[in-house]
Symmetry: C2
């Protein structure tokens, strides 16, 4: 249902899906359910596209019904929690609140119903499932960003990934606190216990390594029994808590989403295995990040052994004031001068890179997923059918007794079994190679998904710098104040460059390791197949 709206602020489009709107411009809004903070509509020039919901005032039509918009499902039927298409738009408000604010300290199994809002499920590619009708609610700041676990949804990669990823770049700019930080609106009202140093390295700014690096290993996270001691205490929900703390504290650092949860209630061994591998990868990535790994929440997460300890540590960690905007105060940056335009170009180059890398990671994920399916299906089937056909030939040869040539039949029958076995080997092989590749690609999808938002923070901050300089030039702002904006912007720039640098370092290590591991397993596989066939061939030698 279309309705009218008015632009509260001017917005300049950056992508082809977006349209520019001018302050006070009248707009047509096609659907007032915003998707990740964006609305679809038409401006006064007749251009159709997306613009930030928070930049617009919706002029609501008179309604004959008391039914609120958010209780109407996209399909036009009343909200239905058991719908095959999970949709946050259908979820009662209190459930979302309950989840995001984690008020109830309810440690039931991680797959209980209160987590449904973060559960994209296999239909997560449906644009509607990312609807967040309450993003206008100023109380919901620390809303976990919905994400698509794309690699398991092959079809989604054909549709493009615009929806559900980069749509909330404006809302994230507003809520990240970077704007407030750059404008000097963050009061130094807390003592800064933390400090993260950025130094100049051979390839530009880089994070100083953590003084206390560590790593951890993870047992199967679903097999926990509550209150049974440290080794089995941590459950998926603890990971969820940790992820959300990291996400909200470490503005401008890319915190990849957690491995997906199961869409339905039941989950098999394969799924548990996959999630375990991916949690290990995720944790490994977190604990090897020079900044993230220093987060005190890790100690709490890793060391606490029972529910009481957990609650205490959790409350302490949640009192952390150095979140978001305040976190920006913790950086120690080099004195070195960097030309702002150079930094801008540096960021643009990285932006182009991430887009292409995201595409290629998506493509490789898609191809590897299909290859898994072929291994489990087509390859196995073809070789098993060949094996079966050989066995049938052997059986036929036994039917004319004076000429049943037993040793030849045995050899042919064995050949049949060998090919049936090779079929099974093909089906098993993804366990040794493709799954690990997909795990790593999934982690990188999570990392890459954050960069458009992070880059947008830097772009927004740069816009503030230019605006303040202009105002200063026009005498509308003190030069000191404009210099302060510029100085604080330097921190944003250094931090982003350090994060870019870190990303590239990890990427090189990870992709080298990924390719080597894949090739090694592939070589071993083809050798095993060859050896099986050689043993089979030798049976014919003695005929």
């Amino acid at each position: 249902m279309s309705m009218k709206g008015k632009a509260l602020f001017t917005f300049q489009s950056e992508n082809k899906e977006e349209i520019s709107i001018q302050e006070n411009e009248e707009l047509v809004i096609f659907d007032n359910n915003s998707v990740d903070g964006w609305l679809q509509g038409e401006n006064s020039k007749g251009q159709k596209g997306l613009f930030p919901a928070s930049y617009v005032e919706v002029i609501r039509p008179r309604s004959n019904s008391n039914m609120t918009d958010c209780s109407i499902s996209p399909e036009g039927s009343p909200g239905n929690g058991s719908s095959y298409f999970p949709s946050t738009a259908n979820t009662p408000f209190h459930m979302q609140q309950g989840y995001y604010h984690d008020n109830d300290d309810d440690w039931d199994d991680w797959d209980d119903s209160s987590t449904v809002v973060d559960d994209d499920g296999p239909n997560g590619t449906n644009g509607h499932s990312h609807q967040s009708p309450h993003s206008n609610n100023p109380n919901v700041h620390y809303c976990a960003k919905p994400y698509m676990e794309r690699q398991d949804i092959i079809s989604s990669s054909r549709k493009g990934s615009m929806v559900g990823r980069n749509l909330n770049r404006f809302s994230s700019f507003v809520r990240s606190g970077v704007e407030a930080f750059v404008l000097g609106d963050v009061p130094m009202n807390a003592k800064i216990a933390e400090s993260y140093t950025i130094a100049m390295g051979p390839k530009g700014p880089q994070w100083k390594e953590s003084p206390t690096p560590f790593s951890c290993s993870i047992e199967d996270p679903t097999k926990q029994t509550k209150f049974k001691g440290i080794k089995t205490y941590i459950s998926y929900r603890h990971f969820d808590w940790l992820y959300n703390r990291l996400l909200h504290k470490f503005t401008i650092i890319s915190v990849p989403h957690l491995p997906e949860k199961q869409a339905t209630g039941r989950f098999g061994d394969d799924f548990i295995e996959k999630r375990k591998r991916r949690l290990i990868l995720w944790m490994d990535h977190m604990t090897s990040h020079p900044v993230l790994s220093q987060y005190e929440g890790f100690e709490h997460f890793l060391m606490c052994a029972d529910d009481k300890q957990w609650k205490l540590g959790k409350r302490r960690a949640e009192k952390d004031e150095m979140m978001g905007a305040n976190f920006m105060l913790t950086f120690q940056i080099p004195n070195e001068h960097q030309d702002l335009q150079d930094v801008e170009e540096r960021v643009d180059s990285f932006k182009t890179f991430t887009k292409k890398m995201d595409d290629s990671v998506m493509q490789l994920t898609h191809v590897a997923s299909e290859l898994v399916q072929k291994h489990l299906g087509g390859f196995r089937k073809e070789f098993q059918r060949l094996g079966n056909a050989f066995q049938n030939v052997s059986q036929a040869f036994m039917l004319d007794p004076p000429h049943c040539s037993e040793s030849l039949n045995t050899a042919i029958s064995h050949t049949g079994r060998t090919y049936e076995n090779i079929g099974e080997m093909f089906a098993e092989q993804p366990n040794y190679d493709l799954f690990h590749m997909l795990d790593k690609l999934s982690l990188y999808q999570g990392l890459l998904a954050n960069f458009p938002d992070i880059i947008h923070l830097q772009k927004g901050a740069f816009a503030k710098v230019k605006e303040s300089q202009r105002m200063s030039d026009e005498g509308k702002m003190d030069q000191d104040e404009a210099d302060g904006v510029c100085k604080r912007f330097r921190t944003v720039g250094f931090a982003l460059q350090a994060e870019i640098n870190h990303f590239h370092q990890r990427r090189e290590v990870d992709f080298k390791e990924m390719m080597q591991a894949y090739l090694k397993q592939q070589i071993a596989f083809y050798q095993r197949v060859g050896q099986q066939l050689e043993r089979t061939l030798h049976i014919y030698d003695n005929l």
Copy 2:
């Protein structure tokens, strides 16, 4: 169009597709176009099925048209030589005559239009294409049996192979001359220049080896230029001539059909290659048969160097009187007594075996053909897509210059090319293994396709023995005459057992060789793939 008919003789059904008919029984005939000598209809008991056309008199309805039945195509449209569905029913009579009798000595290319009647083409599975409306014509004795080249028609193997194979067992019995031979109706009017000895071996009767064994090699048979000398003289049409001579002379020996011709005018290198390989296999099989290889036509076929020689030799060979029934006079059998019932069981056992072997060869052919398609299609595509995805990752990595890690990108790009190459290796591999397997299976399909007819000759002859014994017992036949039938039947039994023995010997050698060759090529393939991957892996070592 249904019409009435009358059974001229009693026929006992042997297969579930057939129905029994009694002499003088009235029948309904569903379509008076016989298929391989068989008609479909209904007997007076209401049973529907097949019976031999030559056992039935069709009572034709009055027709308002002068159009003969054989000029009406199965689709109801007038005969059309360029129809996509080649059908002998559509071919004017003089063309078939011209082909079978080879009156015109026209040595145009083998694919000229006058050969269309033997050209099943890719739609040979269509029952109508096997129609032989002139099988009632007593002058067409030596009609080349239409065959299905089944292995190239995957779909046909799903339909079952009843139609087009075993339907002419009665007509073959009649026209083979075995009946006449057993009944003593073959006059000794020619001097018997040939003699083939059957001896008792460890597994029963066997052909005595040829005193002058030989083998020959074949150059590409399509590249001939006429009159250019011995090496390039032989064309496909010469093979056709040889095949027909062998087929008509060597009753009860399985002469496999020639490799198929091309359905359409154009033919590619792959097709020429395949036909060449299969002609070599066919020739190798013919020249290694203890009886067939002694045929004087081989000398003519192999030695003649020009058209004049060819015509002379051809006419000489076609004056051979030791064809069909007369050929049966050439056998020297052991004196050893064989119990007729034992022989019968021996033949039944072989019949069961051939049926199962035919099924399993068909299945393996089907599976191997599909595997070829997978190699050319699915396997190639999957690996090439993987290679392409790796290359795209490498290209993305080059987009952020300060971090473009050139050596890693080179390694990943090389990995991409390696997998593209592996895709090509998969597509090439059938040239080294599956095609040879399919060639041999095709030969065996040809061999096996003849056995139902050959076994039927023996069964028909055995029925004559029992009939003559009964008549002798009832005093309706001289004991001497009945003993003559029995004695001549022994010759048929010995010859068939020798042929069975020979078939098994060749089968063991051929299938052992086929399996070994396949496994060797498979091993070499997986080793090559492994080596390619190893070389690629080493590139990462130096990063």
